[in-house]
C-alpha cells in the first residue's frame, strides 16, 4: 500500500475550499420528431473536495443525462443549457478539444456494465496503461509500473501477474475494480460513477463500495454517484440530490434526508424501498449459546418438524417437492459438463411462498426453469402436486402444465412483441382449455382487471407499455390457468423501486386471494422477506440453508448466509454504518470464506 501513496501526487488537489464542480441551472433537451423534449431542467448543485454527492432518481428522472451533459457526451439529438463550472472553467458549450482534455484528466467516469466497458481483446493492464499514457508523458515502462500500482491500489491480488490477464479472466467485481483503476489513472478531481454496482452481486457490491469509500478518503477527490439504490446512497454518500422527471425535488445531507425527508416524493421513494429486517424485526441477531448449543436453532428445528408432521398427518400433498435434484449443462468438444445445481431438496406446501435466494451463478434460475419443465434434470426427483415430472414425455407433461406457471425477470423480453397483450394473456388458455372467442375475451378481460390494468390494454402491444405494466401482463398470463404453483424468477429486479413496490403488493394480494404456492427466486433479501414465509439460500448450486424467513434472517447458521445478510445495504445511514462495522467484524473473525 505504501507504494501507491507515492504515486498519488498532491499537485492537482484544488486550492482553497471552493467547490470542485458547481452546476447551475443545467438543462438538457432532446429533439424528438422536431420537438424539443425536456430531459432535465434547472439542475443546480455543488460538489466540494473529498465529498460524495449522490444523485438519486428512477428511470426517466434525468439523473444520467444531466451528468453526461457535463462531459459533453449527450447523444446527437441532445442539447444542454445553463452552467457547469469545473474549478471555475465553464464546461457547458466548451469546445470538443477542451472537453477532451477535461475527460479522463479532471473528470473520470465509471460505467454500470464493466464487461462491455472493457475491450475484450486487450489485457486489463494494457488498458490501464493506455489511460495513463493518454494524459501523461511517462515512458511505456513507467506507465506500466504505474498501471500495476493502480491495480494494487484497487486491491487486485497479485497485481503483476494479473496485469497480463484479459477482461474475461476477471470476475465481475474485479472488472469493476479495473474500471476504477482506469478512471483513477490520472488522479481526476471528480469521479462520476454511473450506477457503479448495479450489475454486481451484493457481496461484491459491498466490497466495491468499501473500496470507493477508502479511495475517496485517501485521494481527496470528489465523487458524483448516480444511482437508483437507496441502500448504496445510505452507505456511501455525504449529500443527496433527489431527482424526479428532470427536476431536483430535494437536496440535503444524507443523514438529514433519510431521517426527515421534506418532500412527498422523497418520502414515497424511501417508503417504496423494501427494508431488510422490517418484517421479522432485525437481521443477524445475537444467538444465545447455552452449553455449546444455540437453543434458538433447536427451537426452529423442532417447529419445522412439528409443522411437517401436521402436514403429513392431514394428508397435505406439497405443491412442489424437490429431492436431491442435480442439473447439468452438457459439455461440448471435450469440455466437461457443468454442474449448475447439485443435491437440492426443498418442499413448498400449498399456499406457501418460498424465497429462493442466491447470487448470480448460484443456479437459482436454473432451478426455476427445471421446475417448469424448461430444462431437464440429470438426477433426483421433481414432484409437482405429488406427480414426478422428471421422466415424463412432453405429451404426458402437457396436462400437468396447467398446474404451474412462470413469471420471468425481463418483462420486455418475456412478451412476444408481435402479439397484442390480449393474445399473449390468452395463449395459455387457448392451448389448454380451447374456449370460444367470446369466452376467451371475457377471461382475458377478467385477468386484466385482476392485475389492475384497463381492459382496453388488450389491443396494445408490449412496446407501448411501461416496465411495470408489462410485468403485470406477465403475471396475468401466468395466472390465466389458475395454477397451483407460481414460479417467479426475479419478477421485479428490472423495475424501479416504486414500481417494484406496487408489483410486489399486487403479487401479495393475488397470492392471498387465490392461495397458490409460489417459488420466488430473487437476489434481493429484502424483497424476499416481504413475500416469503420460508427462505432457501443457494450458493454455487448447493442449498446451504433453509428455514422460516425469521430464522434465516435473524439467526442464520451458515457463514455464506451471514455474509449475504451483512452485505445487503440498508436504506438508513446510521443503521448502515453499524452494519458495516458488523460486516468488517465478520470478516475479521474469519467467518467469510
Amino acid at each position: 500500500m505504501s507504494t501507491s501513496s507515492v504515486i498519488i501526487s498532491d499537485e492537482q488537489a484544488p486550492v482553497g475550499n471552493g467547490p470542485i464542480l458547481a452546476v447551475k441551472g443545467l438543462g438538457v433537451e432532446f429533439n424528438v420528431d422536431n420537438e424539443w423534449v425536456m430531459a432535465a431542467e434547472d439542475v443546480s448543485y455543488e460538489i466540494h473536495p473529498g465529498e460524495i454527492l449522490a444523485i438519486v432518481g428512477e428511470s426517466g428522472s434525468g439523473k444520467s443525462m444531466s451528468s453526461m451533459a457535463l462531459l459533453g457526451l449527450l447523444p446527437r439529438n441532445g442539447r444542454s443549457s445553463g452552467s457547469a463550472k469545473m474549478l471555475g472553467k465553464e464546461l457547458i458549450g466548451a469546445s470538443q478539444s477542451t472537453l477532451r482534455r477535461v475527460r479522463g484528466n479532471d473528470i473520470a467516469m465509471i460505467f454500470q456494465e464493466p464487461m462491455t466497458a472493457l475491450n475484450p481483446v486487450l489485457t486489463v493492464g494494457e488498458q490501464i496503461r493506455e489511460a495513463v499514457e493518454q494524459h501523461t508523458e511517462l515512458s511505456p515502462a513507467q506507465a506500466k509500473k504505474r498501471a500495476i500500482e493502480l491495480l494494487r491500489m484497487v486491491e487486485i491480488p497479485e497485481a503483476e501477474r494479473r496485469y497480463d490477464s484479459f477482461p474475461h479472466q476477471f470476475s465481475g467485481g474485479q472488472r469493476q475494480r479495473a474500471m476504477i483503476a482506469i478512471a483513477l489513472a490520472n488522479d481526476p478531481m471528480l469521479l462520476i460513477a454511473d450506477e457503479p454496482t448495479t450489475a454486481l452481486d451484493v457481496t461484491v457490491q459491498a466490497e466495491v463500495l468499501d473500496l470507493m469509500r477508502k479511495l475517496n478518503k485517501r485521494l481527496n477527490s470528489a465523487v458524483l454517484l448516480i444511482t437508483h439504490d437507496m441502500g448504496v446512497v445510505a452507505d456511501l454518500a455525504d449529500h443527496v440530490v433527489v431527482m424526479e422527471r428532470g427536476r431536483i425535488v430535494e437536496a440535503a445531507p444524507t443523514a438529514q434526508l433519510f431521517a426527515a425527508p421534506a418532500e412527498a416524493y422523497t418520502k414515497q421513494l424511501l417508503g417504496a424501498v423494501p427494508h431488510l429486517g422490517s418484517k421479522v424485526g432485525g437481521v443477524l441477531s445475537d444467538v444465545e449459546v447455552v452449553d455449546g448449543h444455540a437453543s434458538i436453532h433447536e427451537e426452529y428445528a423442532e417447529a419445522a418438524l412439528r409443522a411437517q408432521a401436521t402436514h403429513t398427518a392431514s394428508g397435505v400433498v406439497p405443491a412442489l417437492e424437490l429431492t436431491d435434484v442435480d442439473i447439468e449443462y452438457p459439455g461440448r468438444f471435450r469440455q466437461p459438463a457443468f454442474k449448475a445445481v447439485s443435491g437440492v431438496s426443498l418442499t413448498i406446501n400449498p399456499g406457501e411462498v418460498l424465497g429462493l435466494v442466491g447470487e448470480s451463478g448460484s443456479g437459482k434460475s436454473t432451478i426455476a426453469r427445471a421446475v417448469t419443465g424448461l430444462i431437464k434434470t440429470s438426477g433426483g426427483k421433481v414432484r409437482i402436486g405429488g406427480t414426478d415430472i422428471t421422466d415424463l414425455s412432453a405429451r404426458q407433461l402437457l396436462p400437468l402444465r396447467k398446474k404451474f406457471a412462470i413469471v420471468f425477470q425481463d418483462p420486455a423480453a418475456s412478451l412476444n412483441p408481435r402479439l397484442s397483450i390480449g393474445e399473449s394473456i390468452g395463449e395459455p388458455l387457448l392451448l389448454h382449455e380451447k374456449p370460444g372467442r367470446a369466452e376467451l375475451d371475457k377471461r382475458v378481460a377478467a385477468l386484466l382487471e385482476d392485475v389492475q390494468l384497463p381492459v382496453a390494454f388488450r389491443n396494445r402491444y408490449p412496446h407501448e407499455l411501461s416496465g411495470g405494466q408489462r410485468q403485470r401482463v406477465g403475471i396475468a398470463r401466468a395466472l390465466s390457468l389458475r395454477p397451483d404453483l407460481l414460479v417467479a424468477d426475479e419478477p421485479t429486479s428490472a423495475l424501479d423501486v416504486s414500481v417494484q413496490a406496487k408489483v410486489l403488493e399486487l403479487l401479495q394480494d393475488l397470492q392471498r386471494e387465490r392461495g397458490f404456492a409460489c417459488l420466488f427466486v430473487s437476489h434481493d433479501l429484502a424483497v424476499v422477506e416481504l413475500l416469503a414465509s420460508h427462505i432457501a439460500v443457494l450458493n454455487k448450486g448447493i442449498l446451504v440453508e433453509q428455514g422460516s424467513t425469521e430464522q434465516i434472517l435473524k439467526y442464520p447458521r451458515d457463514p455464506y448466509t451471514r455474509r449475504l445478510l451483512a452485505a445487503a445495504p440498508v436504506p438508513d445511514p446510521a443503521h448502515q454504518a453499524l452494519r458495516r462495522e458488523q460486516r468488517s467484524a465478520l470478516i475479521a473473525a474469519g467467518a467469510v470464506d
Partner: protein, 344 residues
C-alpha cells in the same frame, strides 16, 4: 342546451378517468402520457384481430398503396391487352406477326391530344408491333419473378426456420445442403437443364430459378431464429406446453416477417435480372417467346438509333421492381406493431 351537453361530458370524464388509472399504475413518464391516438384506442375495448390491425396499418402506408396501384395497373395492362392463354385481349396485333415498318418503326403514341396510333410503342427491326411485344415480355417477366419469389420464400423460410429452431444435426444437415447449393454456379445448372426448360415453357424455368435462389433467405431466417429462440417469450410459450410448430409459426415467424419480406422483394427484383442474363445466354426464354430482359438484350445495339426499343421494356422493369419494393416496405411496416405511429 346544457342538459343535452351533459351526457357527452360524462363520457369524456369517464375516458379521462380511465386515463388517470393508466397514469397511476406506474410512475414511468415515458409512456404514461397518452397521445391522442392512444386515447382513441383506449375507447375501443373490444379485442381486435391481428389480421385487421395489419390491414389497417398497411392501408395507412402511402408508398405501399402507390406500389399496389402501379403493380395492378401493369398487371391489368399486360394481361388484358394481348390476352393470355388463348383468351383474346383488346389489342388487335400479335407480338409475333411481322409487318411493314411504318415511319421507320417510330412510336405513334402522342399524349396531347391523346392518341395511340397504329403502333404506340413503335415497331422493332423486323416490323413486329412493339407494344404487343412489351406486353408479352411483361407477362413472362411477372410470372417468372413472382414464382421465383414465392418458391425462394417458401424453401428459404422453411429451411432457415427448421435449422434455426431445432439446432443440432438437423441444422448441420440443412445448412450443409444450403452451402452446396450456394457453391454450384447457377449458370452451370441452367445449362444442364436448359433442354427441359425449352420443352416445358417458363413455369418450370421459374420453379428451377426459385429452387436455386433461396439460400440467402435461408441463412438470414436461420440467424433470426437463433437469436429469437433464446428469448424469454419463447420459453414462456414452452412452459405452457406449446408445440414446436406453434412456437415456430405463432411466436417466432411473425418476428422474422421483416427480414423475409425484404429479402423476398429483393429476390423478386433480382429474379427479373437473372432471367435476363440466362435468356441472353440462350438458356432461358427462347424466341419467338420473349421477356422484358430478352427484349432489351435483343435490341441492345439499337440504343442510339431506335431508343424506344430499349426504353419501353426498361420502363416496365423499373416500374415492376419499384412497385414490388414499395409493397414490401409497406408489408414490413404493417407486420411490425412498433411502426404504427411513424408512417401515416
Amino acid at each position: 342546451m346544457t342538459r343535452n351537453d351533459s351526457p357527452r361530458d360524462d363520457s369524456r370524464a369517464s375516458v379521462e378517468l380511465s386515463e388517470m388509472t393508466l397514469q397511476s399504475q406506474d410512475t414511468d413518464i415515458a409512456t404514461a402520457t397518452p397521445t391522442r391516438e392512444q386515447t382513441d384506442r383506449i375507447r375501443t375495448t373490444e379485442a381486435k384481430s391481428q389480421g385487421r390491425l395489419i390491414r389497417e396499418r398497411f392501408f395507412r402506408h402511402k408508398g405501399a398503396l402507390a406500389g399496389i396501384a402501379l403493380l395492378a395497373l401493369i398487371f391489368l395492362l399486360a394481361f388484358t391487352s394481348i390476352g393470355f392463354a388463348g383468351i383474346p385481349g383488346w389489342w388487335n396485333k400479335d407480338y409475333d406477326v411481322l409487318a411493314d415498318r411504318f415511319n421507320e418503326g417510330r412510336p405513334t403514341l402522342t399524349l396531347w391530344p391523346f392518341s395511340l396510333g397504329e403502333h404506340p410503342f413503335g415497331q422493332d427491326v423486323l416490323g413486329r408491333d412493339y407494344f404487343a411485344l412489351t406486353m408479352r415480355g411483361t407477362q413472362t417477366s411477372l410470372i417468372i419473378a413472382f414464382i421465383v419469389g414465392l418458391v425462394a420464400m417458401v424453401i428459404g423460410t422453411t429451411v432457415g426456420a427448421i435449422a434455426g429452431y431445432f439446432r443440432g444435426w438437423t441444422e448441420a444437415f440443412l445448412m450443409r445442403i444450403t452451402d452446396v447449393v450456394i457453391t454450384i454456379p447457377t449458370v452451370v445448372i441452367a445449362a444442364a437443364v436448359a433442354g427441359i426448360v425449352a420443352k416445358h415453357g417458363i413455369i418450370p424455368f421459374a420453379l428451377f430459378l426459385g429452387a436455386v435462389t433461396w439460400t440467402g433467405l435461408a441463412r438470414l431466417v436461420r440467424g433470426e431464429f437463433l437469436s429469437l429462440r433464446e428469448k424469454e417469450f419463447v420459453e414462456s410459450a414452452k412452459s405452457v406446453g406449446a408445440s414446436s410448430a406453434r412456437i415456430i409459426f405463432r411466436h417466432i415467424l411473425p418476428n422474422t416477417v421483416g427480414v423475409i419480406i425484404v429479402s423476398t422483394t429483393l429476390a423478386i427484383s433480382s429474379a427479373i435480372l437473372l432471367e435476363t442474363a440466362l435468356s441472353y445466354l440462350g438458356l432461358g426464354v427462347t424466341a419467338p417467346d420473349t421477356s422484358l430482359g430478352k427484349a432489351i438484350n435483343d435490341n441492345r445495339s439499337a440504343l442510339t438509333v431506335r431508343p424506344w426499343l430499349f426504353l419501353w421494356p426498361g420502363a416496365f422493369i423499373i416500374g415492376i421492381a419499384l412497385a414490388v419494393n414499395f409493397i414490401g416496405d409497406g408489408l414490413r411496416d404493417a407486420f411490425d406493431p412498433k411502426q404504427t405511429r411513424v408512417k401515416q
